[in-house]
Each structure stands twice: as C-alpha cells, then as structure tokens.
Symmetry: C2
Subunit: 139 residues, 2 copies
Amino acid sequence: MEVTVAEPQTDSMAAALENILTVSKNGPGLCPVRDILDRIGDKWSLLTILHLGRADNLRFNELRRHIEGISQRMLTVTLRSLETDGLITRTAYAEVPPRVEYRLTALGRSLLGAVVELGNWATAHAPAIAEARRAFGVE
Amino acid sequence: MEVTVAEPQTDSMAAALENILTVSKNGPGLCPVRDILDRIGDKWSLLTILHLGRADNLRFNELRRHIEGISQRMLTVTLRSLETDGLITRTAYAEVPPRVEYRLTALGRSLLGAVVELGNWATAHAPAIAEARRAFGVE
DNA sequence: CAGAATCCGGTATGATACTG
DNA sequence: CAGTATCATACCGGATTCTG
C-alpha cells in the first residue's frame, strides 16, 4: 500500500501553515513548533524514537548498541527527557542483573508518523543537500 | 479537504523505519536523519522555513519581524546555512536602500510537507506534553 | 546491567557596535 | 536596509570514574 508523500501543496497546507505559525496561544511568545524542537530536536531524541518505533521495546544497552556513537550519559539524559515528556515509558524489573525496558507511549507513537516522513525526506534528499553544499563551497 | 494524519501504523511504516535506520550508507556512521537534524534542528531553521513556506518570498527584516525573538545575527547565520544547504535562495537587488529577498527552493518546498506535519503534531499534542511534564514533576 | 556523578571543551546563541 | 565583526556566555555533549 503506497503512501502519498508531500507534494500536494494544496491550500490545506496553507491553512496548516497559518495555524502553526499563529504564535503566542499558550505561553508568552511560545510557538509550539519551537517548543517541540527544543525537546526532540537535540542530537539523539529522534533517533531514539525511531529505534523504539521499530523494535517496540528495547533495553538500555540494546538501545546503546543500536544508536551508533551515543554515549552512556547522553542515552540516559535523552531517555529521561523523553520520559518526562510522556513520549516513552521506563519499566524496571526487580531482577539481578537489573533489566530496564523502554517503549513508546501512545503519544510517542503518534509522533512516529511525522518523524518517519521527516526521515524519508532526509534519506531521499540527502544527496541533493550534499550536492548543494559542494556547489556552494566552490563558488 | 481533510488530511489523514499518521495512525496508519501499517507495515509500510515498518518498512520505512527499516530503510531510515539502515545506517552507514554514505559516510562513516552517518545516519541521514541525524545529518538532517544537525542542519535544520537548530533553534531557528524550521521556523524560518515555515515562514518562507507561507509567504513565498520575504525580505530580511520582514523575516526578522515574523520570527519573534530572533536576533539579527542568528537570522543571518540561519539564512546562510539554509542557503548553502540549497533549501532557500537569496536574491539581492542593486538598489538603494538595498533589498534582499529570500524564498524556498524546490528542495526547500519538498521539505515543507514533513515540517508541516511535524508542526501539526506539535500544535495538536503540545497540551499532552505539558500535562505529562506536570504529572512527572509532581511524582 | 543500568545507571549516577563529575569534569571539561566546543559550539550555538545572544548583545553590542559598526558599515556600504 | 541588510548586513559584518567582535566579544561574552550558557549549555550541550563527550570522557571518565564510580555504584547497586
């Protein structure tokens, strides 16, 4: 089953843009998009979400192996952040050695669609960006 | 006209996840998602893209007025970054006083869909996140 | 295994002043 | 109007060490 990606460019998008950019509803000058990106726009959050989206449930060191290059500290920090935002749950089992499982909440899974679309765009257009940078570097 | 947002959760998403998370195609351990977020995941890029997506073409100080809180320096830096990535174009008119127009490239517009979806999610679920943080803060 | 605590450097961001 | 240049700083993230 195919998924129509982007490119509709209809006025539904214009309406969405209007809605999104209508700032300062909640806080003083706080745009939801800015607010969200302050949370998941860091170095590891989205990647963590993607991996949990694929595997449904992962342990601490499983995640660490999957997310190449992440430090122990940053995995901890990232997981705590996602947890306090209600995007993942942390389940610790009273065993020895300890076992802790992380998985997406319903809220977290609801984010997965947008993230996947962003990921699709990234994989599809990464070459174009690399090309643009090269062209600009020469100039 | 309605837009069906997320929630298909079909195996097309599973396939997309596999594809996105298949790391190390281009560089050494470079995931496209990480790569993209290193560029547009900063404090102002997405917001700039959204505003240019709405207005089609904006001048420097127009953007500055629209993007609440951005400093002159950061707007310059952000625009340069987006330009070298091939997401926007910069057109300077030899007039006095000078006039410079920024607009999305085709590449930039192709990103708009994913960004808008992320924005929709953000505006829709911002209350849920705020609620989660409050609940966690009490605990 | 799953972390906590500490130290530390680079960078992203901001404030300010100046220019063509 | 549309920047550039310089300085100051906050904080993100990595390396390391220690623990239940």
